[in-house]
Amino acid sequence: MTVQMIFLAFFGGAAVWFGVVVFRTHSMVRSALALLFSQTAIGAMFLVMQAEFLGVLQIMMMATEMSVMAIFMVMFMMDPGGMGKMDMTHQKRLSLWVGVIGLLAALLLVWLPDWGPVAQSVPGAHEQAADLGRELLGRSMLIFQSAGLTILTAMVAATMVAIVPNAEQRK
């Protein structure tokens, strides 16, 4: 029962709990920000697991990402304030079952196999960052580049899809 374990459990619990809140609250802004805090808790877990760079990155990226999510919720939901407690779900039983089954299956996968020896120590943060850099710009350069290109393409495509189809509308 190490300190690390306690923190891990705490942030893990927070992440899961906020994840539940996402689909239970009626206020859409709340649900988006709940997702944000869930992601932030995950970032904190990364930090606990001594993956400093990834943790900070996760915490940083999700803040803006989920804020954008929030405004899209407000834009596209009928009742963003959640004043009238309207039900925004369908095929509830089915999805509940699927979710539970998926959960149990994954849990089995987690708990049954023998994961073999667990590493005790990790390289320091500076080292990690440096190694990651070498990895990205060395062995896995191609993958990294393709990921970058994917983002670029997605950005362009998304903009193309989203903008007003013709200029007259702007007037």
Binding site: F76, D79, P80
Partner: protein, 690 residues
């Protein structure tokens, strides 16, 4: 001795310290506005207090001059928004009900302000807290809680429960006892009151029932004479009239809410709704009787009703979270309230409780970029920082773009005469005091009109002096506008400097003005050279040649309306009309700076300043008209004298002309641009007549 708006709590040691702090740190909200206070000669910026833009941050309400009846309710709301402890300082204000009695009253002079503030400090330090602080109540604040359905606003109950139509929980909403009371310049829940005008649609749409063909709400081309399901989407077929009623609701939604942006659009839809023509989903103006392609974008034309049924719009919700605005969503929505219930429940494969968003939002107007964000009605004014005091500007915002605007004056339209007949002197006084932002000009106007009517001719010096007085007021007024514009655009140095210069100029004699001339010229140069100024104002609030406009607004677009051009007195004082081209807010700023310089020269040439004296007319009768160029434009007054008394008077003011421009200059502008556009018109709500 405690102040009226004392905070609850006994006066303990710490509270004593805090009270002294409050007394030292006065944050004031000024009624009707800082600009009015300046033109009445009060130097608020120079006083030991901070003027804040929202009553929420103020602990002192300063009422300057008599409070116009139209502003009473708004004043009460504003006062209610201030956190306690809150004090009231009344300067030359008589009866300020429904506000509580002022904690300190003082005459409307600089000395009065000084002594009043000193007294106020003592009062607050002594009595900021009181064990039993009573609630403040006013008719404008009385609210009644009622429960309504976020989706079906026509459902209004007195008790909580579920909506009979969609089963949603009814949400509480506060409404005013009166239909819609005075909005303080600030949204607060008390003001979340529905606008009766908008709810009027509900009944209209519902009674459209009756018998006839059955049509699919989604696919109008599907028509059957017996009830059943639509072969295309499986929805229950609805009575034709009900589908038609969408058209009604839609038209109303437009007419009542977006006349500027969507007027034509509305017309088209109503026509289409009736005749079932084909139109382009992207270009509602494209209408054809036969299916085909859109000449503009080549899209397939669709049935008009289909366009409506696919009209975007959403976020009823936010309105329900916020509670403000959303009326047009509702009114539009009411259109299909009649059949909303059953068509929902019957779509194949959808649980009965599902609420179709298309159903909900089909009748809402389209916004300019085709993507509609929440439409919320936001009141600006009558005490909004940077907007003319007394002007209530209600903007219907689509996201932060202005979809529709409505500017009304809460202070104008008072009667020229207070009786069947008035003594000449009283009449002049009355007219001058009616226009606190430019009293000298209207005094001069009244005198001139009466002289014409009485056939008396002021001598040469009097005319020169009078012209100079009007020009002096023009300088002061333009500086006042500069100060307000500085406040509105966050150019705080300008606000402070122009305000100080205005106070120095108004009431100064020729020598005094000569000493300030250099500073004023430097100011106007610096304003025009300030960084970001061009970016802020260029191409904002463009006004075409044809739109009726008066004064600087007209001259800034190359127009030639100026009552001074024909005046021989001004001619030999070396006056010639200044004109700028462009017609945008930047041109107006520059023109006003030019006019300031011009007026400085005229005053220097005149050599004397004489506030117009009331002509002594003995029991003559006659009729006469005079025109004078006030700082805001040409005002003309017709008076009728009957043996020495004014029996009839008729006034035309420039703001009457210019206030009509608000609609056009704000349409489809981003919020900030719209507000600086309104500010650039330099309206004076006091000049608005009936």
């Amino acid at each position: 001795m405690t102040i009226a708006g004392a905070h609850a709590g006994a006066m303990t040691g710490l509270r004593r310290l805090i009270s002294t702090a409050m007394a030292r740190d006065l944050t004031a909200f000024v009624l009707p506005g800082a600009s009015v206070a300046r033109s009445m000669g009060l130097d608020l910026a120079g006083s030991p207090l901070r003027i804040v833009g929202t009553p929420r941050h103020a602990n002192l309400l300063i009422v300057v001059g008599p409070l116009p009846p139209g502003l009473r309710d708004a004043a009460a709301v504003t006062y209610a928004q201030m956190p306690r402890p809150r004090a009231i300082l009344a300067l030359g204000a008589g009866d300020i009900a429904p506000l509580p009695d002022a904690d300190v009253s003082a005459p409307l002079t600089r000395a009065g302000l000084r002594s009043g503030l000193a007294d106020l400090r003592r009062v607050i330090a002594a009595g900021a807290f009181r064990a039993d602080s009573g609630e403040f109540n006013a008719p404008a604040l009385e609210v009644r809680v009622e429960y309504t359905c976020p989706m079906h606003p026509e459902i209004v109950r007195d008790a909580p429960g579920d909506c009979p139509k969609c089963g949603m929980t009814l949400v509480p909403r506060e409404t005013a006892s009166d239909g819609h009371g005075g909005h303080g310049g600030h949204v607060m829940p008390r003001e979340d009151r529905p606008n009766p005008a908008d709810h009027a649609h509900a009944g209209h749409a519902q009674d459209a029932g009756g018998s006839g063909a059955y049509i699919c709400p989604m696919h109008p081309e599907v028509i059957s004479d017996a009830p059943g399901k639509c072969p295309k989407c499986g929805m229950n077929l609805a009575k034709a009239e009900e589908v038609e009623s969408h058209g009604h609701g839609h038209g109303h939604g437009h007419a009542s809410h977006a006349p500027s942006a969507h007027g034509d659009h509305a017309g088209q839809d109503d026509k289409a709704g009736g005749s079932g023509a084909y139109t382009c989903p992207m270009h509602p103006e494209v209408i054809s009787d036969a299916p085909g392609k859109c000449p503009k974008c080549g899209m397939n034309l669709v049935k008009a009703e289909e366009v409506e049924s696919h009209g975007p719009g959403h976020g009823h919700g936010h309105g329900d979270h916020g509670g403000y605005g959303k009326q047009q969503d509702h009114s539009g929505h009411d259109g299909h309230a009649g059949h909303g219930g059953h068509s929902k429940a019957a779509i194949d494969g959808i649980e009965p409780h599902f609420m179709s968003m298309v159903e909900m939002t089909k009748d809402q107007p389209r916004s300019s970029d085709g993507l509609q964000m929440d439409w919320i009605k936001v009141p600006f004014g009558p005490f909004f920082p940077g907007l003319p005091a007394g002007l209530r500007l209600t903007l219907t915002l689509d996201g932060d773009t202005v979809a529709a605007s409505d500017a009304t004056s809460l202070v104008g339209a008072t009667d020229l005469m207070d009786g069947p007949q008035m003594r000449v002197a009283d009449f002049v006084e009355r007219l001058a005091t009616m226009m606190p932002l430019s009293p000298v000009s209207y005094r001069a106007l009244a005198c001139a009109a009466i002289e014409v009517a009485a056939g008396v001719e002021p001598d040469h010096d009097a005319r020169r002096g009078r012209a100079a007085a009007v020009e002096r007021e023009r300088i002061a007024s333009h500086l006042n506008w500069l100060a307000e514009f500085g406040l509105q655009s966050g150019f705080l140095w300008l606000a402070a400097r122009a305000g100080a210069l205005q106070l120095a100029v108004q009431g100064a004699d020729v020598a005094g003005i000569a000493t300030q001339a250099g500073a004023i010229r430097r100011l106007s140069r610096r304003v025009q050279a300030a960084p970001l100024m061009r970016m802020r104002l260029r191409r904002i609030a463009r006004i075409g040649k044809d739109a009726p406009a008066s004064g600087p607004v007209d001259r800034a677009r190359g127009g030639g309306s100026d009552a001074r051009t024909g005046d021989p007195t001004l001619k030999d004082l070396g006056f010639e009309m200044r004109v700028r081209n462009g017609g945008d807010a930047l041109a107006r700023l520059r023109l006003r700076c030019d006019e300031i310089a011009q007026s400085l020269d005229v005053i220097a040439a005149a050599g004397r300043i004489a506030v117009p004296q009331v002509p002594d007319v003995d029991r003559v009768s006659g009729e006469g008209e005079a025109r004078i160029e006030t700082p805001r434009g040409t005002a003309s007054l017709r008076v009728k004298l009957a043996n020495g008394k004014v029996v009839e008077a008729d006034l035309d003011t420039p703001t009457d002309v210019n206030i009509a421009l608000v609609e056009t200059v704000t349409a489809q502008q981003e919020l900030g641009d719209a507000l600086s556009a309104v500010a650039s018109l330099d309206l004076s709500p006091w000049e608005v007549r009936g």
